[in-house]
């Protein structure tokens, strides 16, 4: 597996804060879970209406999803398993030999 299979089970989740209050709590949870922010560039740029995509490690996704559901914040799972998408999108044998 590419990258030692480290991204197995990792998810990419999208949410769009509807209010500044939602944005505030989302910034806090993102900071606590140490998510890898795909967009926007930095946590400080999350605000009302900002399309926010976060890459969450497999052991943090359950916590984030539970939080979003309890806070009634709408979300969408863009990528269910990052490792699978990573490997499907590249010409694996050739790529592995190039790496």
């Amino acid at each position: 597996h590419l990258y030692g299979n480290r991204y197995a089970g990792d998810k990419v989740i999208r949410f769009i804060p509807n209010t500044e209050e939602e944005a505030f709590v989302l910034k806090k949870i993102c900071h606590q879970l140490k998510v890898d922010l795909w967009q926007p560039g930095g946590v400080s740029q999350i605000s009302q209406g900002t399309v926010t995509d976060v890459h969450v490690p497999h052991n943090g996704s359950r916590t984030l999803l539970t939080f979003l559901e309890e806070a009634n914040i709408q979300y969408k799972i863009l990528i269910e398993d990052l490792q699978k998408v990573l490997e499907k999108g590249s010409s694996l044998p050739a790529w592995r030999s190039r790496r």
Binding site: L2, W38, G42, Q45, H55, I79, G89, S91, R99
Partner: protein
């Protein structure tokens, strides 16, 4: 050879640099490769000067790809652009005009250290790889490190954040090298284009504030025509507008700096897609992405040549 190199896969830094060396030897009439400095980890920062050699004055366009390491479609496009330019110089009147009237300075991989790291260690690395003496975290956001409202809104002062602006402006040797080059050549560089991913947008200044640029008319019309041309290829919709309101506010960006330093037409592309794959755009989508972007870049270039002062 041009046809022997696969432009529809992502290449490692070493492969890209070997490719540049090869083109420098085999296409010396249109290509000249040179280095503008060294990265933090000591790698050469290579630039390709593309265009018909001329003793008379020629304006130039600067293009850089891969400021953010994980945005691999950027370097893929820079390579595609060079390939297309060389392959179609004789057969395409538009390309011939572009390369006869202009030089293109193309930096296929801006953030060489970060790009290499994203290949070997962390696919989603964004920043450079410079070290910080007081913190364990490495790297600076190379698109927050420019001296234009440096470290203001949209940037972070903390070294562990992905938008860390650095200890001071142009702290990163990669940023300093490009800035020095652009300062030295700014009188004949007429346009600056930077390629990122992902959002499917064509952006122009300002990023750091909500305001209209003085030459809005020409810039906006160039962007409008470019996204229409892009859409005509595969129907993909790109939004366009000032970066601050179209994407988000961010200070210290290369595009804003280039504009402030006298390059009148500066754009940043956010290439495919809008989140379905994000940074993991499959290799099967390299060709359609690059084909449509190629048309947009040619459109912008010709518009600036013909319609803008």
């Amino acid at each position: 050879s041009l046809s022997g190199y696969n432009y529809e896969v992502y290449h490692s830094l070493e492969e890209i640099q070997n490719w540049m060396h090869h083109l420098n030897k085999t296409h010396s009439g249109l290509i000249h490769m040179f280095s503008i400095g060294k990265s933090y980890e000591g790698r050469s920062l290579y630039v390709l000067k593309l265009g018909r050699r001329s003793r008379s004055y020629k304006r130039a366009v600067w293009m850089d790809c891969g400021i953010h390491a994980r945005e691999w479609i950027g370097p893929a496009f820079c390579q595609w652009f060079v390939k297309e330019a060389l392959l179609t110089y004789r057969s395409d009147p538009t390309m011939r005009k572009m390369l006869n009237h202009l030089y293109f300075y193309i930096m296929p991989v801006f953030n060489v250290d970060g790009y290499h790291f994203s290949w070997t260690n962390d696919r989603f690395w964004r920043k450079t790889r410079s070290r910080n003496s007081r913190f364990r975290c490495r790297g600076v956001d190379a698109n927050r490190n420019w001296r234009v409202k440096w470290c203001d809104e949209g940037a972070s002062m903390h070294p562990c954040d992905d938008t860390y602006c650095g200890p001071f402006p142009e702290s990163e040797p990669e940023v300093k090298a490009v800035a020095n080059f652009l300062r030295k050549h700014r009188k004949h560089i007429t346009a600056y284009l930077s390629f990122h991913a992902y959002a499917q947008m064509l952006l122009y200044p300002y990023s750091y504030k909500y305001a209209t640029i003085p030459n809005f008319s020409c810039v906006e019309s160039a962007a409008y025509k470019a996204v229409n041309a892009l859409r005509s290829v595969h129907g993909v919709q790109y939004r366009y507008g000032p970066a601050s309101s179209t994407l988000y506010v961010s200070s210290g960006s290369s595009m804003d700096w280039a504009y402030k330093n006298g390059i009148p037409y500066t754009f940043a592309f956010e290439l495919r897609d809008t989140g379905h794959f994000g940074f993991l755009l499959p290799e099967t989508l390299i060709k359609p992405t690059c084909t449509e972007t190629m048309l947009a870049v040619k459109n912008i270039t010709m518009h600036l040549l013909k319609k803008c002062p």
